[in-house]
C-alpha cells in the first residue's frame, strides 16, 4: 500500500513541480537562462508583479483587519446569535471568487437592478467603480477575511482564561488586556492567517479577472491567462516563468511567517476553559447591529444583486414585476449547448475529484497520522504543496507535463477534460486529507490494534474498522472538494478547450462577452447548490471532528 500511495503522490504533487522548474532552467532539455532573462526584461512582467504585490498586501491587510476584529468580537464578547453570524460571515469563503466578483459588480454597476430600483444608478455607460485596484482589494478582503477569522478564532479558543484573569486581577481593564495580553498571544495565529490570506490574494484569479481586466489592471495570474489566451502553447515558457514568479511571491509570504513566529516564544502550555465572554452591556445591541450590517453588506446585498440581475431580461433594463423573467435560467440550463456541457463537465469533474480524494485520503491519512515514520511528514508536505501554491502554478505545470502525449502510451490528454481532472486531483486532495487526519487523531488507536490482534489483515482492518470510523470526516472533506471544484475557475481557465468547458469558464466567458445576466443566472445556481451542500454536510456534523466544517461554530 505504501508504495502505491507514494507513487501516486509523486505523480500528483512532485512531478508537476519538477517539470515546471525544468522548463525554467532547461527549456527543451538543455540548461539555459534564456527563459529567465526574457521574462526579467519584459516591462509588463514588472508592472504585473508590482500590481500583484499591491493587491496582495492591501487585500491581506483588509482581510486581517476584518477577520481579526470579527474573531475578537465573536469569541471574547457576549454578542448574541453567534452561530448564525459565523455561518453568514464564513459564507463568502464557500462561494467562488468570481461569483463574489460578479455579485458585487452587479450591485454597483450602472446596470445594477438594485440601484435602478432605488433610482440612484449612475447613467448607463459610466464606469463601474469596482473596475479598479481599490475594487480588487476590497473584494479580496471580503473573500479572505473569513479565512483569517477561522484561524484567529481557533487560536482565541485555545487561550486559557487564567491568562486573561491574571491580567484583570493585576488591574488591567478590558482594552489593556486586549492590547497587552490577548493580541500579543494571538500573534502566531494572526501571522499565520495573514500568510495564508496573502498566498490566496496573490494567487486569486477570479477577482482580478472580473475587476482588473476591464480596467487593464493586470496581476500575474491574469497576465498569464492573457498571454496563453493570445499565444497558445508557444508562449508556455513565458507563462512558466511568470507562474514560478507567483510561486516565489507566495513562498516569500510563508517564509516571512515562519521567521516572524520564531522570533518570540508564544507557546501556550496549559489547557483550560475559554475565557468568560466580556459583557458589552449597553454596547451589546449597537455592536450586534454593526455586525449584522457587515453581513448585509458583504453577503446579503451582493447575493441579492446577483439574484436581481439574473432576473433582468437584458443589459440595463430596469427590473420590475413586469420585466422580471426566468429566461436567463432557461437559456443557460436548457438552450445553450455549451452551458449544458459545462454543467455536465463540472459535475463529473467535481464528483470524480471528490470520490478519488476520499478514497486516497483514507490510506494516506492513515500513514500520516499513525505510522510515525519521518518520510511520511514529507509526503504530507508534498500533498499540501499544490494547494498551498497558487492554482495558476499547478495549471501551467500540468500543461507542461501533458502538452506532449504521455510517454510509452501515446495517450494525449492535453485539450481534453482529463487534464483538468488531473489538476483537480492534485490540487484538492489535501482538502480531504486534512479532515481525515484529524479524524484519525480522534480515534483510539487501540481499536485498530485490537483488530490486528484478532488476526485481521491491513486491508480487512481498513475496510471493517478504520473506514467506518473516519468515513464521516473523509466524506465531509469530499463535500468540501465538490463545492470548491464545482465553480472553480483558476485552473480550468488555463486548461479548458472547446468541449471541456467548466461552469467557471462559462461564467467568465459570459461576463467577458457582456452577458452578465446569463453569468448571474449561472452564479445564482451554483450559490444555491453550495447552500444545499452545506445543509447536507451539516447532517454529518455530529460525526465530525470540530473544525472540519468551517461554517459550523
Amino acid at each position: 500500500m505504501t508504495v502505491v500511495v507514494a507513487a501516486l503522490i509523486v505523480l500528483l504533487s512532485i512531478l508537476p513541480m519538477l517539470r515546471l522548474i525544468q522548463e525554467i532552467f532547461a527549456p527543451g532539455g538543455t540548461l539555459s537562462t534564456a527563459a529567465i532573462s526574457a521574462g526579467l526584461t519584459n516591462a509588463t512582467t514588472w508592472v504585473a508583479t508590482g500590481n500583484t504585490l499591491v493587491v496582495g498586501f492591501f487585500g491581506t491587510a483588509l482581510a486581517v483587519i476584518l477577520g481579526t476584529s470579527v474573531a475578537l468580537l465573536v469569541t471574547l464578547t457576549d454578542v448574541r446569535g453567534r452561530s448564525a453570524f459565523v455561518l453568514c460571515y464564513v459564507m463568502p469563503l464557500m462561494i467562488a471568487p468570481q461569483v463574489t466578483a460578479l455579485a458585487w459588480l452587479q450591485l454597483f454597476g450602472p446596470a445594477s437592478p438594485l440601484l435602478k430600483m432605488l433610482g440612484i444608478a449612475p447613467p448607463l455607460g459610466s464606469r463601474n467603480p469596482l473596475y479598479s485596484p481599490e475594487g480588487i482589494i476590497l473584494l479580496l478582503g471580503v473573500q479572505y477575511g473569513p479565512l483569517v477569522f477561522l484561524l484567529v478564532r481557533a487560536g482565541l479558543r485555545k487561550l486559557p482564561r487564567e491568562l486573561v484573569e491574571a491580567a484583570r486581577a493585576s488591574g488591567a481593564g478590558w482594552f489593556t488586556v486586549l492590547r497587552t495580553i490577548v493580541l500579543p498571544l494571538m500573534t502566531p495565529s494572526v501571522v499565520a492567517a495573514a500568510a495564508l490570506a496573502f498566498v490566496s490574494c496573490v494567487g486569486n484569479f477570479g477577482i482580478p479577472a472580473f475587476l482588473g481586466i476591464p480596467a487593464n489592471y493586470l496581476v500575474l495570474p491574469t497576465l498569464i491567462y492573457q498571454r496563453l489566451a493570445g499565444g497558445g502553447p508557444a508562449v508556455l515558457g513565458d507563462a512558466a516563468f511568470l507562474s514560478v514568479l507567483i510561486g516565489l511571491i507566495a513562498m516569500a509570504g510563508i517564509l516571512a511567517q515562519e521567521m516572524m513566529s520564531r522570533r518570540r516564544d508564544y507557546r501556550i502550555s496549559s489547557t483550560s476553559l475559554a475565557a468568560e465572554p466580556y459583557e458589552l452591556g449597553k454596547w451589546r445591541v449597537p455592536v450586534q447591529v454593526v455586525m449584522w450590517c457587515l453581513i448585509v453588506l458583504i453577503l446579503v446585498l451582493p447575493l441579492f444583486g446577483l439574484l436581481l440581475s439574473s432576473l433582468v431580461p437584458g443589459y440595463g433594463i430596469p427590473l420590475t414585476a413586469a420585466t422580471a423573467t426566468l429566461d436567463n435560467y432557461r437559456f443557460v440550463l436548457f438552450e445553450y449547448g455549451a452551458a449544458r456541457r459545462a454543467f455536465l463537465n463540472s459535475f463529473a469533474l467535481s464528483l470524480s475529484a471528490a470520490a478519488f480524494a476520499v478514497l486516497v485520503a483514507i490510506p494516506v491519512a492513515y500513514l500520516v497520522a499513525w505510522s510515525g515514520k519521518k518520510w511520511v511528514k514529507y509526503l504530507n508536505l508534498a500533498v499540501e504543496l499544490p494547494y498551498a501554491l497558487p492554482g495558476v502554478v499547478l495549471a501551467i505545470a500540468s500543461l507542461l507535463m501533458f502538452l506532449k502525449p504521455i510517454p510509452f502510451t501515446g495517450i494525449q490528454i492535453y485539450n481534453t477534460v482529463w487534464i483538468i481532472l488531473y489538476a483537480y486531483l492534485a490540487r484538492f486532495l489535501v482538502l480531504a486529507l486534512r479532515p481525515t487526519i484529524s479524524g484519525y487523531h480522534q480515534i483510539d488507536r487501540a481499536l485498530e490494534e485490537a483488530a490486528r490482534v484478532a488476526g485481521a489483515s491491513l486491508f480487512t482492518r481498513m475496510r471493517t474498522i478504520i473506514f467506518p470510523l473516519v468515513a464521516p470526516a473523509a466524506l465531509a472533506g469530499g463535500l468540501l472538494i465538490f463545492m470548491t471544484a464545482l465553480s472553480e475557475l483558476t485552473v480550468s481557465a488555463l486548461l479548458w478547450s472547446s468541449g471541456s468547458e467548466t461552469i467557471g469558464v462559462l461564467m467568465f466567458s459570459f461576463e467577458q462577452g457582456g452577458d452578465s445576466n446569463y453569468a448571474s443566472a449561472i452564479s445564482a445556481i451554483t450559490v444555491a447548490i453550495t447552500f444545499v451542500l452545506m445543509l447536507l454536510a451539516n447532517l454529518l456534523a455530529a460525526h465530525l471532528p470540530s473544525g472540519v466544517l468551517p461554517w459550523r461554530d
Partner: protein, 359 residues
C-alpha cells in the same frame, strides 16, 4: 490589608447551584484554607471573590467595601486582589520581570520605581537574576514563585490561591508550603487558599472552611475540625474518620457523655448541651481503636483484611453488630490479627457528632 466577608452567597449555573448559601468571615490578616472534594465549588467561590463571576444572591465585602451583590459587582481589575492559579497562568510572551511588573505598568508606575519594586518582589521569592528569563525556561517551582511575586508586587489587600501546589511534586510541595507560610508571616496579608490536600490545609491555615456540594460544611480551626467535626461529612472526610451509629445513654456532663456503640459502652467527647437520644453518630479514628482482651469491654467481629505496611499493619475489622461498617486502624508489630479470624477490639474514645440542625 482587609478582611473578607462572604454573606449568604449563592451561585447558580443554569439550574445547578455550584455554591449554596455560603457565609464566611475572614479576619484581616487571617490565613483561611478552603477544603473539599473535587467539584464541590471551591474554585467557583474563589472566582466569585475575585469578581470573575457574579453572585446569584448574597453579597461579598472586601474590607468595608461591598464588591459583589446580585445587582452588580466591582470588576476584578478594581478589586486589588492577587491571584495565584494552579497552572501559574504566566504570560508566555513576557519575561519574568515583565510578568511581575505588569500590574505596576498598568497602574502607570514610573519605570524607576517599577524596576525597584520588581526586584524587591523577586528577591522576596528568591528569584534574583531570573528577570530576563522566559516562563517556558523555568521549573514548576520557579514558575509558581514568579506567580507569587507577580501577585505580591501590587501589595494586594487579599491574596487568593487556587490549588497552587497541585502541579508540583511532593518534595517541592513541602518547600513551597514553607515558603507560603513564611510569606504570610512576613506580609500579614489576608489569604484565601484553596486545596484538596488536608495536610496542606492543616499545616498552613488559621482556619479551614470545608465545603461539600456547594455548601459550607464547617468552618473551624484545624484542631477543632479534627477533634470536633460538626457533621458526618466532615467527620468522614477529615483524616479518614470512622462514623458509627451510637445511642446516647445519659445527658452530657463536663463535655463528655456515655454512649453505646456496637454493644460497647464508651465515654466520648461532646458538646455541653447533648441530651439522651437513640439515633446518634460518633466519629472515631484509627488511634482510638485497639485490640481488646476477651474479658475487657469490647466489640466482637471478623478481621476482613490485614495489610502489612512496615512496622504497622492496617487492619479492617467488621463488627458482628453491624457488618456494613468497617473499623480500620493501625496495629504495631507484633500483629495478633489475621485476615478471616475472629477478634475483639475496643474503642477508647471519640466524638459525638452533634445532631440535626446544629450541623
Amino acid at each position: 490589608m482587609a478582611g473578607l466577608t462572604i454573606n449568604g452567597v449563592t451561585k447558580t449555573f443554569g439550574d445547578f447551584d455550584a455554591v449554596k448559601d455560603v457565609s464566611i468571615d475572614v479576619r484581616d490578616g487571617e490565613f483561611l484554607a478552603v477544603l473539599g472534594p473535587s467539584g464541590c465549588g471551591k474554585t467557583t467561590l474563589l472566582r466569585l471573590v475575585a469578581g470573575f463571576e457574579n453572585v446569584t444572591s448574597g453579597d461579598i465585602r472586601i474590607g468595608r467595601e461591598i464588591v459583589s451583590t446580585a445587582q452588580g459587582c466591582v470588576p476584578p481589575e478594581k478589586r486589588r486582589v492577587g491571584i495565584v492559579f494552579q497552572n501559574y497562568a504566566l504570560w508566555p510572551h513576557m519575561t519574568v520581570a515583565e510578568n511581575i511588573g505588569y500590574s505596576l505598568k498598568v497602574a502607570k508606575v514610573d519605570a524607576e520605581t517599577r524596576k525597584r519594586r520588581v526586584e524587591d518582589a523577586m528577591a522576596l521569592v528568591d528569584l534574583k537574576g531570573f528577570g530576563d528569563r522566559r516562563p517556558a525556561n523555568l521549573s514548576g517551582g520557579q514558575r509558581q514563585r514568579v506567580a507569587l511575586a507577580r501577585c505580591l508586587v501590587a501589595a494586594p489587600s487579599l491574596v487568593l490561591f487556587d490549588e497552587p501546589l497541585a502541579n508540583l511534586d511532593v518534595h517541592l510541595r513541602a518547600a513551597m508550603e514553607d515558603e507560603f507560610a513564611a510569606f504570610h508571616k512576613r506580609t500579614g496579608t489576608t489569604i484565601v487558599y484553596i486545596t484538596h490536600d488536608q495536610a496542606e490545609a492543616m499545616a498552613l491555615a488559621d482556619r479551614i472552611a470545608v465545603m461539600d456540594n456547594g455548601r459550607l460544611a464547617q468552618l473551624a480551626a484545624p484542631r477543632d475540625l479534627y477533634r470536633e467535626p460538626a457533621n458526618e461529612m466532615v467527620a468522614s472526610f477529615i483524616s479518614e474518620g470512622i462514623v458509627l451509629p451510637a445511642k446516647v445513654l445519659i445527658p452530657a456532663e463536663g463535655g463528655h457523655v456515655k454512649v453505646d456503640v456496637l454493644g460497647q459502652e464508651v465515654v466520648v467527647r461532646c458538646r455541653p448541651d447533648e441530651m439522651r437520644r437513640a439515633e446518634a453518630k460518633i466519629c472515631c479514628r484509627g488511634p482510638e481503636i485497639s485490640a481488646a482482651a476477651p474479658d475487657e469491654p469490647g466489640i466482637d467481629g471478623t478481621v476482613r483484611r490485614a495489610v502489612y505496611k512496615g512496622g504497622v499493619a492496617r487492619i479492617e475489622f467488621a463488627p458482628d453488630a453491624d457488618p456494613s461498617v468497617v473499623l480500620h486502624f493501625e496495629q504495631p508489630d507484633p500483629n495478633p490479627f489475621e485476615a478471616g479470624a475472629r477478634a475483639r477490639v475496643r474503642i477508647a474514645s471519640g466524638w459525638l457528632i452533634p445532631g440535626g440542625a446544629s450541623a
